[in-house]
């Protein structure tokens, strides 16, 4: 076999497989699995010997190929796998390859479009600013969630002390609850635990409400009083807004 191909050109195992199919001028609907598996494994060996970082996905596909090969070799078992009788074990792989090939084509067609700053260019000079009038207050904001989390990540990475800054969705649900409680307390001045729970008393809500109150007490924003043992717990804002 001639190995002078550029190994790093492959975008993944499916790409490598497509390459082998094309190279051998094989009908994609009738892949000679034994041949292709053999060549695929040889390529993996070369990649490994060149110390190329072999993504796990390459090995997964190798296993799939070997599995398909073994199924093709076995005589069909009577009775077993009745539903799949006659089903070619290569079908799923072919479907996946065709789908991938379509998107590869889509990528090429995207690249063939007149690209901004490669093929076409917009006005280079910044627009002259006529004397600016005051900006509208409700101006839209042009950043997305990704920019926000990235900004936070950068700050966290700057912190030298290893404070636990991991944020999970649980914490954020808790924050939602805290905000809701604060809003309601600011209006009502005083609320009981069951007032806060309202109609919806699913388990998660009860837990988060309880945790939110604990958090607010710890923050010294809210005070809780109980009228005698087993009495109703009443919550107050510790400081008037």
């Amino acid at each position: 076999m001639n190995y002078e191909i550029k190994l790093d050109i492959f975008e993944g195992p499916l790409d490598l497989l497509l390459y082998l199919i094309r190279k051998n001028e094989i009908d994609i609907y009738n892949i000679p699995i034994a041949l292709i598996t053999e060549q695929y494994l040889e390529y993996l060996d070369i990649m490994r010997s060149l110390n190329l970082d072999l993504a796990g996905e390459y090995l997964v596909l190798a296993a799939t190929l070997i599995h398909i090969k073994s199924r093709l070799l076995l005589p069909p078992v009577e009775g077993e796998e009745e539903g799949e009788e006659g089903e070619d074990p290569r079908t799923e792989l072919v479907r996946q390859l065709l789908e991938y090939q379509t998107f590869k084509e889509a990528a090429l067609s995207l690249e063939g479009r007149p690209l901004l700053d490669r093929d076409v260019f917009t006005r280079g000079a910044p627009a002259e600013e006529p004397a600016a009038e005051e900006q509208e207050e409700d101006a839209m904001i042009e950043v997305g969630v990704f920019e926000l989390v990235q900004a936070f990540r950068e700050i966290v990475s700057r912190l030298d002390h290893s404070e636990d800054m991991a944020i999970d969705t649980e914490k954020m649900s808790l924050t939602d609850r805290i905000n809701e409680i604060m809003e309601r307390l600011t209006e009502a001045k005083e609320l009981s635990f069951s007032d806060l729970l309202g109609e919806r008393t699913d388990r998660k809500r009860i837990i988060y409400t309880f945790l939110a109150i604990l958090e607010l007490m710890k923050l010294r924003v809210v005070r809780a009083y109980q009228l005698g043992p087993f009495g109703v717990i009443r919550l107050f804002l510790a400081v008037e807004g």
């Binding site: 975008e11 993944g12 195992p13 499916l14 790409d15 390459y19 094309r22 993504a55 996905e57 596909l61 996946q96 065709l98 789908e99 991938y100 090939q101 379509t102 998107f103 590869k104 084509e105 889509a106 990528a107 090429l108 067609s109 995207l110 690249e111 479009r113 007149p114 690209l115 901004l116 700053d117 490669r118 093929d119 076409v120 260019f121 917009t122 006005r123 627009a127 002259e128 997305g144 969630v145 990704f146 969705t169």
Partner: protein, 180 residues
């Protein structure tokens, strides 16, 4: 030249993003959107007929002046910088997102047969792809979609201007050896 066309031309020129007919109608309250659309169409043709170095392109739902495509070598000389290209991995990932959006990362990985994390992050940073929301299934995975900037960069009026996957498939079937 009609006064209204003149105003529209100046607005398109001064706008940092493609000017939408809606935006133009907001700025020109005496002109109906229908009239604006007609005038914009006339202006596009006017620039076509003139055949100068600039053309009026319809992108991302709006209108923007752009240099004519065949003059790119001259502009590249002016800018003296190699345009930033997307890697094949980034392009593939972008194609999957463009055609299958809104979708989650595991779906991208499945189609490409490889982990798309690196490519995805690059596309988010380039603002070609954005986080649309979360899917209401266990684990609440993040849903991705393309941005307006994607339309601007790839010179698309809207997503429907992309060739359909069927058209691309047909291309493959008659194309034969299209790689390399």
């Amino acid at each position: 030249m009609k006064e209204k066309t003149t105003i529209l031309e100046a607005l398109i020129f001064a706008s940092e993003i493609p000017l939408t007919p809606d935006r133009a109608a907001e700025i020109m309250p005496d002109t109906e959107k229908r009239e604006i659309v007609t005038l914009l169409g006339e202006l596009v043709r006017q620039y076509e007929v003139r055949g100068g170095g600039i053309c009026l392109a319809e992108v991302a739902g709006g209108y923007q002046f752009r240099t004519r495509q065949d003059l790119a070598p001259w502009i590249r000389k002016l800018k003296a910088a190699r345009p930033a290209m997307l890697s094949p991995a980034a392009l593939e990932t972008l194609a999957v997102i463009a055609y299958r959006q809104p979708l989650v990362k595991s779906e991208i990985d499945r189609i490409r047969g490889v982990d798309a994390s690196g490519a995805l992050k690059g596309l988010l940073e380039k603002k070609l792809v954005r986080i649309v929301g979360r899917k209401d299934v266990p684990g609440k995975p993040i849903i991705y979609g393309t941005t307006k900037k994607f339309l601007e960069v790839f010179n698309l009026k809207d997503l429907s201007e992309l060739p359909t996957l069927r058209e691309l498939k047909d291309l493959q079937n008659d194309g034969g050896e299209q790689q390399e």
